[in-house]
Amino acid sequence: MTASPLSQALTVTAYEIRKYLRGRRLIGMLILLALIVGLLVGLPPALGIPYATDPNVFVSTFAGFSGLLVVLGAVLFAADALVSEHEKRTGYFLFPNPVRREVIVVGKLAASLLTSAVVVSLYYVAAAIAALVVTGATTWDIGLSYLYALAYLAAVVGVAFLLSSIFKSTVAATVLTFFLFTLIFNIVSAVLSLANIDPWFLPTSASGIIGNVLSPSPFGGGGPGGPFFTFVPDVTTSLLVFAAYFVAGSILAILLFRRRELSS
């Protein structure tokens, strides 16, 4: 009497999603989302700044924050998914069941992707509705930006799972995931740009397509090294970079999680 791997993966997914629904993380994330939307919609009139009349330009302000939302989603719903089974000793309940470790990883990965995707989807729905109300129109480009954000999400979640399978502490996995995508990759990108090397292989550089599809602006601001060019690869390259990070991160996470022993 054993369930099929697919059925087991779906069970793991269902229970992981239940964890997010019952925990404070999803609520916190939704509050943050509401705050961002509220500020983006409410602040311009409060400061006497007129709204953009073009729906793409209007939503591009939202898209500028979607990268951060994606990273926070991965931090909250992916970075501790695997490491917590070891650190919190719940693996002593889960692992002696007749279920393969790769099935557990796949189930958890699906739950992390779905939960984070729901947050990003709600954000884009709010942005599209705001664009419709303010400018009287929405565009397909908004939809494309949304799809690119989901692709970026997959890449970040893949890396978060890899870190979760490596580290022994949930704090370490969570903090490194956050700083990798908000700081470390950006520093590497800036340094490479100064050396005239295009950082096309960095997911944070590729994530520029999320905003560029709405309002192309290839130039970044000044930095300690002077003004620098924010390189954004073309769409095909960017999507391939996202796919590579997702696939490599997930596969390595599965391999490492399978090898990892549960001993205290």
Partner: protein, 323 residues
Amino acid sequence: MAPGLTASHSDGQPVRLAGLGKDYGSFTALKALDLTVEEGSSLGFLGPNGAGKSTTIKIMTNLIRPSRGHATLFGIDVAREATRALAQVGAVIETPEFYGYLSPLETLAYAGRLRGMAKKDIESRSETVLKEVKLQTWADHRIQEFSKGMKQRLAIAQALLHEPDLLILDEPTSGLDPRGMAEVRDVIKALTGQGRTVFMSSHLLPEVQEICDEVALLDHGKLLIHGSVRDLSRGTGIVTFQATFLRPVTDEELASVGRLPRVQGAKRADDAAVDVRIAGGDEAQAEVLEGMMRLGLRVSSFRPLGSPLEQLYLDRIQESDRL
């Protein structure tokens, strides 16, 4: 074989450990363990802390990999085909943590679904096992509110959920109060009575004597004894008694006690007490007592230090420590 149990290719030995060993760097936690457990029997896996009991159980339940040798359950190598090997196994490893956001009913449903149990079976079995471990009134409460003892009860409930042919229990009464310990022992005894096989680690000898019909003693990663509780309870024929006297004993008197017939050795326990190793049964003990009185020693108490099995256990552990 108990009703509903599956036929296996284990030749009547659901557990077979062959040359099983585990190293952590230069430290050897388990040397080369050879052990089999017969179908329907209950084996108490005894040993002090750090003996290698948990390491063995973790290998058997696929939590860690062996450095050498094989652990086979129902004829299936756990390291090669863990899901098949563990399909008919219920396990409690240490005191597991559960997901705090779930209730016991939801936790059991999770385990049941992973095992492919039908919804109605999960519901009926959950009710039964929660009743068995006296958690039925907590069935819908979040586990985050539970004490260690309650979690241990839940761990036992999830191990029993699918009516496994083999139960692997690592210190199953750990964390329970005396009443809880007695209740869990009764549950395990009932299971052995149904013909299920039990592999149970413990450092509580009386618990093993009460529940198990076989005992294996492990120390420093090495098997020291394996046999039936009945045979080993007869001991080696040498028992240790503690004699307490009305006044302090001199070194000369201690030496005289050591020279009494039937006495294998005498060791000072404190000023007025001596531990005496006696070869033989009741006759020999009476003879030694009379000998002490002839030496002018007035005995206020004369009691055995533990059961023969306990003495055998302590002797072998001490012997193992000396090597």
